[in-house]
């Protein structure tokens, strides 16, 4: 579908784009700007206090800065597109369910990075082929940091599961956090997603991205960490 769709090289070019293309872009840029900041506030910044060593505290500082930096980049693009500043921050918005997880421990933070950043990678991979070039470039720019964050989750969880107590704590955190993940990809047969695909803003359906996540997360959690994923309803 997307191969026949025109691409737009700059914000200026959007003046000649269909109105619903511009609206769809605004939704997706707004969503990324808000969610990057939400994640930094509820997970990454609090993780600095929870980290068990100065090495991990400073690494958590850096990760928080990078997530905040992603917000800044999406916000700047949104502002260039004429989205009001108030719509580009989380204030007054209902958070996604994954941000309602009451994170209280370092182990939980490691599991958040393991699961949520993998989900984020799948979303950003899809944007790397976006028909709007500034958004495509932004996805390519943020991807190396997203990969590092996800790898950080994998590495820290791999260390933690080496002890029985750590293994139990990681499994418990997965049991509580993982059920929130499938909904992150949006509803089945979503009208927004259909619009995104019509214009080549996104390439895949929500169901396809959710299925990709399930495949990769199963390999990570059950194949690599030798833990169990709880049963969840996959369709949102």
């Amino acid at each position: 579908m997307s191969s026949a769709v025109a691409s737009f090289k700059s914000v200026k070019d959007l003046a000649g784009a269909p109105e619903d293309y511009r609206l769809a872009l605004r939704k997706i840029v707004r969503s990324h700007a808000v969610n990057e900041l939400y994640g930094a506030r509820v997970f990454d910044e609090p993780a600095i206090a929870l980290a068990p060593t100065p090495y991990l505290k400073w690494l958590a500082c850096r990760i928080a800065m990078e997530e905040y930096g992603h917000h800044v980049r999406f916000r700047q693009l949104g502002e260039q597109m004429g989205i009001p500043e108030a719509e580009l921050t989380p204030e007054g918005r209902k958070p996604l369910s994954i941000f309602e997880f009451p994170m209280k421990t370092w182990v939980e933070f490691c599991v958040v990075k393991l699961l949520a950043d993998l989900a984020e990678i799948i979303q950003v991979e899809d944007l790397e082929k976006c028909s709007f070039l500034p958004l495509r470039n932004l996805a390519k720019m943020t991807m190396p940091e997203e990969i590092f964050h996800s790898q950080f989750g994998k590495d820290t969880c791999t260390e933690l599961v080496k002890t029985e107590a750590g293994r139990k704590a990681v499994q418990e955190a997965i049991n509580r956090y993982f059920p929130m993940m499938p909904a992150f990809f949006g509803k089945k047969d979503s009208a927004n997603n259909a619009l995104y695909r019509k214009y080549g803003i996104k390439q895949h359906t929500n169901e396809a991205m959710r299925a990709d996540f399930m495949k990769r997360v199963t390999s990570l959690v059950e194949g690599h960490l030798k833990l169990k994923l709880p049963e969840v309803a996959e369709a949102a």
Partner: protein
């Protein structure tokens, strides 16, 4: 005060970040390290040099690192935040500190360059050092906004970074500077 902070943020790129890591400590660096730890209200401890990136990475993962040191820095930062907010208002403080944070984002690259000069390619350690330096910039920024003088612990700590060092904190019974 926020104008002074803008100058501080603009000047961050010109500092020799991590350029003297591992070299022998000179007198002024030892004095700054002592002033940093004394300014936090901690008991005096000997100041020791760390010789390599690998030693620095090992040291800051030791279980006997001082929670008292970290908590003292956190408490000082909180106290400065209250003072700065009372002086300038929350929004002005946040905006000024955002400029510092954005300027400090480049410090990871400076750490990676120093690691590369030492023949090391360690993305995680570059981010750790970059995170530590950014935290020090934020702390120094709070001190500037709160209007405290150059004898403050965070001013002394920042002078160590500005001289190309990485202050690593207290581990066991000594304060360490890389």
């Amino acid at each position: 005060m926020s104008g002074r902070l803008a100058d501080f943020a603009a000047g961050l790129a010109s500092r020799p970040w991590f350029a003297r890591c591992g070299l022998a400590l000179d007198r002024s660096e030892i004095a700054d390290a002592r002033a940093w730890l004394a300014g936090l209200g901690l008991d005096a401890v000997p100041v020791e040099r760390v010789a390599s990136w690998r030693d620095a990475a090992r040291l800051i993962q030791q279980p006997e690192w001082s929670r008292e040191w970290w908590d003292a820095e956190t408490a000082q930062a909180e106290s400065l935040r209250h003072a700065a907010t009372a002086l300038l208002g929350e929004k002005a403080c946040l905006e000024a500190l955002t400029d510092v944070t954005e300027a400090a984002a480049a410090l990871r690259d400076r750490a990676a360059a120093s690691l590369a000069r030492a023949g090391l390619d360690d993305e995680s350690l570059a981010k750790v050092a970059g995170g530590a330096a950014a935290q020090a910039c934020h702390q120094r920024g709070l001190a500037i906004l709160a209007g405290v003088d150059e004898s403050h612990a965070f001013a002394a700590k920042f002078r160590l970074y500005a001289a190309g060092r990485w202050p690593l904190g207290i581990v066991g019974s000594a304060g360490f500077v890389f």
